[in-house]
């Protein structure tokens, strides 16, 4: 069912016609709500280009005048924002890789090989969706501390992958059950083993599932704060949310630079969203439909 919903046709259809006034009223409501959602972004971008006088007294709402590009330089000078960016990307990529490997293999064992407890195992994995990350934060912290693994990439990658796993299995099994079992049988007759079928038959057909699961996993770990804040507190391994939180907390003297730091952290995400909005939305829908 997951797959069907994911690729569901969200295209427009028009049914009947409501009265004109109702439609105008609905449209105004939509515009107002859209403005509420867009305003923080507009406001952040404009105050990132203002000086303190403009921000707090003379020009709170309008476009910057003059445009203070120096804020961006100050933001970049105040801390290793690009380093944080790099860390976040690295953590996200490794998390996606680990999640996909574990999820694809597990899904294969659960949905392509017939055995007695496969359904039970799947159900147990699905409990992962309901277990909050708060359940793990203290024990995992203790273990990482003992192993001297705090402040490292794996301190985040492994927990992120573990918590992304359930959703990834859910998404993958939705796609995998749609692959005809006769393809497997044919490959077995050709002399393939389990591994051969997995790599030669299943994986090439799982690309859409991988894309959906990757997007979902990426968004889960990109903005994650609690683990990141608890496990990685050294600049060297700090991810973007924690880094930005630290930067904006320390130099509140120039709010323009704070705005610039926030904008630097946000703009790439917004661009990706503009380019891939449909796919991103579909991956959220696929993730929740069975959850």
């Amino acid at each position: 069912m997951g797959r069907k919903e994911a690729s569901m046709d969200l295209s427009q259809y028009q049914v009947g016609k409501s009265s004109k006034t109702v439609r105008v009223f609905i449209w105004i409501f939509m515009v107002v709500w859209a403005c509420i959602n867009l305003y923080p972004l507009y406001w952040m971008l404009t105050f990132s280009l203002k000086d303190n006088l403009q921000i707090w007294t003379t020009n709170k709402f309008g476009l910057p005048d003059p445009w203070v590009w120096g804020n961006y330089k100050e933001a970049l000078d105040s801390g290793p924002i690009f380093k944080y960016f790099f860390n976040s990307i690295l953590v996200a990529l490794f998390t996606i890789a680990l999640t996909l490997i574990a999820a694809l293999m597990a899904t294969y064992a659960i949905s392509r090989i017939q055995w007695r407890f496969s359904k039970t195992v799947e159900r147990i994995f699905m409990l992962g969706i309901t277990i909050p990350i708060q359940a793990s934060v203290v024990p995992v912290f203790v273990v990482l501390n003992k192993l001297e693994m705090l402040d490292s990439y794996q301190a985040l990658v492994i927990p992120y992958a573990a918590f992304a796993l359930a959703m990834a299995i859910l998404i993958c099994s939705g796609f995998m059950t749609e692959i005809p079992i006769s393809l497997d049988e044919a490959a077995y007759i050709d002399g393939c083993g389990r591994a051969g079928v997995f790599f030669k038959v299943i994986l090439p057909l799982m690309k859409p599932a991988m894309a959906t699961a990757s997007i979902y996993t990426f968004l889960q770990c990109w903005n994650e704060l609690m683990f990141a804040q608890t496990f990685n507190t050294a600049d060297k391994y700090m991810t973007l949310p924690v880094g930005i939180m630290q930067l904006t907390g320390t130099h509140t003297t120039n709010w323009g630079a704070v705005g610039a730091a926030l904008s630097i952290a946000t703009i790439p995400m917004v661009i990706i969203y503009v380019l891939l909005s449909r796919r991103i939305q579909d991956s959220f829908i696929a993730g929740a439909i069975k959850g």
Partner: protein, 309 residues
Amino acid sequence: MRVMTNRKNDWISIILFLLPALILFIGILVAPLIASGYFSFFEWKGFGDKTYIGLQNYKDLFDGTEVPFLLSAKNALLLALFSLIIQLPLSLGLALLLGKGVKGERFFLSVNFLPVLISSVVIGTLWKKIYYPTGGLLNSVLRALGILKKGQADILWLAESAINPQTGKRYSYILGAVFVPMIWQYVGYHMLLMYAGVKSVPPELREAAKIDGATDGQINRHIVLPSMKQIIKVCVIFSVTGSFKAYDLIAILATYKTRQAAVPSILLLDQTINWGKYGRGSAVAVLLIIMCFLAAIIISEVFKDREKV
């Protein structure tokens, strides 16, 4: 020749294929879950010896003199309640309107979902500035509208306890002030899920009802909403458990994290990382997990009963 088939059980392949997922699942989810329960019966600094103290950690939490756990649980329930009566109806309204086909449907859908993708740190910092007492956006707007008059003191939105200099009365708006962005940020998320539900109703069904003379309201009530029951259940569960687990925005907006605006997640980390009380922090975690599971079970039951009627 030995030919493998799908029917053949070979446990070695099954175990090998399950292994990476099992290691992650047991190592990071199951074992810590059990460990949290175990730690919660001890007094422990995170290293060295543990002292078994029975239910003392839980008694401390419910006693509330040292740790405002009951307040945090009340705040979490309040947030869940506001999410149910404000966030979800708003999401549902938007989903129904968008699903009916409004001009610029895709645009509105994408824009409304945008806050979900923006980092809570960014949203939290922006709202901090909105609530800033002097020159902050909210007080400025209130002044421009004349609600805050000249000579009247700025409202300290994020203060634990502030005094109004005119009346001498104490006030604290912090809880409401942190709830607003928390509820707002995820309206778009629930809207998207519900929109998918609305769109899964076959257009022919609507068309037929329309021809039979049904109004939009009747179509929504009798055709669209019943078919969305599953999605609405998921949204209610996510919204309630999400409220219980809330952390990011409060961690950013509330400076004194353990007082008025305390929530369980904040107490959990504060007790362990800042105060070195690993046992007590684990007890908070255990209670939080119980709250989430109970909520999920109760909500599922509520929706099941309706199915029978």
